[in-house]
């Protein structure tokens, strides 16, 4: 069964605006990761946040994690056309990911020029 659920399923914004995507999950986790997928390509890792962390930054990316609400958000600031892609959250549970990740269904982000 799906662990994570992203919201919204699709998001279209103007270049330069900020984009926020949310993820909810069901069970306890060890860490939560965000991935990007460009059309026709594999997933690319963006950021990993551990269960004892509340916020993490990487360049224009900001991820928050609220384990009490079992939710995470990904903020992309100053969006660019190249950010157009699908974004997935993934959780690994207490197995540390050794037994695979559980992915949400993704948010499809479109950046309008």
């Amino acid at each position: 069964s799906q662990q994570g659920e992203e919201d919204p399923q699709a998001l279209s914004i103007q270049e330069g605006e900020n984009a926020t995507m949310n993820c909810s999950y069901k069970t306890s986790i060890n860490n939560l990761q965000w991935y990007r997928q460009n059309s026709g390509r594999g997933l690319v890792h963006l950021i990993l946040i551990r269960s004892n962390e509340r916020e993490k930054h990487s360049g224009r990316l900001r991820v928050t994690l609220d384990t009490s609400k079992k939710s995470s958000s990904l903020l992309i600031t100053a969006s660019r056309a190249a950010d157009t892609a699908s974004y997935f959250c993934a959780t690994d549970g207490w197995g540390g990911g050794a037994d695979g990740l559980t992915f949400g269904k993704g948010t499809h982000l479109i950046i309008q020029p």
């Binding site: 069964s1 799906q2 994570g4 060890n30 860490n31 990761q33 991935y35 026709g40 390509r41 594999g42 997933l43 690319v44 890792h45 990993l48 997935f88 993934a90 690994d92 197995g95 540390g96 990911g97 050794a98 037994d99 695979g100 990740l101 559980t102 992915f103 949400g104 269904k105 993704g106």
Partner: protein, 111 residues
């Protein structure tokens, strides 16, 4: 990811035929994974391997088998393909607790 190669990249076959997909890594990662991606479902784990000859089932393993005879190669076999196995298949590698690295996928169509 340049260190993970999936072959073939595209395949069309008929129901009932056997199909083998190959994943080759140059990363020397211990763990390897096969996922399938379908519209409305995201990625779902089929099988994974935690070492040579060590494999286990994932969420959607029925109809699939895997083998890992070398660290660098992980094979996914559909013994008798069905139309419900039409999908995009992704291989990933990594270490426990670390990000996974993905290949560019195999698009499989079963007619």
């Amino acid at each position: 990811d340049a260190g993970i190669t999936q072959s073939p990249r595209h395949k069309v076959t008929e129901t009932g035929t056997p199909v083998t997909l190959r994943c080759h890594q140059t990363e020397n990662h211990r763990y390897m994974y096969w996922y399938r991606q379908d519209p409305g479902h995201g990625l779902r784990l089929i099988h994974y391997s935690y070492g040579v000859k060590d494999t286990d089932k994932g969420e959607v393993s029925d109809g699939y088998s895997v083998s890992r005879s070398k660290t660098e190669d992980f094979l996914l076999t559909l013994e008798s393909a069905t139309s419900s196995q039409t999908s995009v298949y992704f291989c990933a590698t990594g270490h426990a607790g670390q990000p996974q690295h993905f290949g560019d996928g195999t698009r499989l169509s079963i007619l």
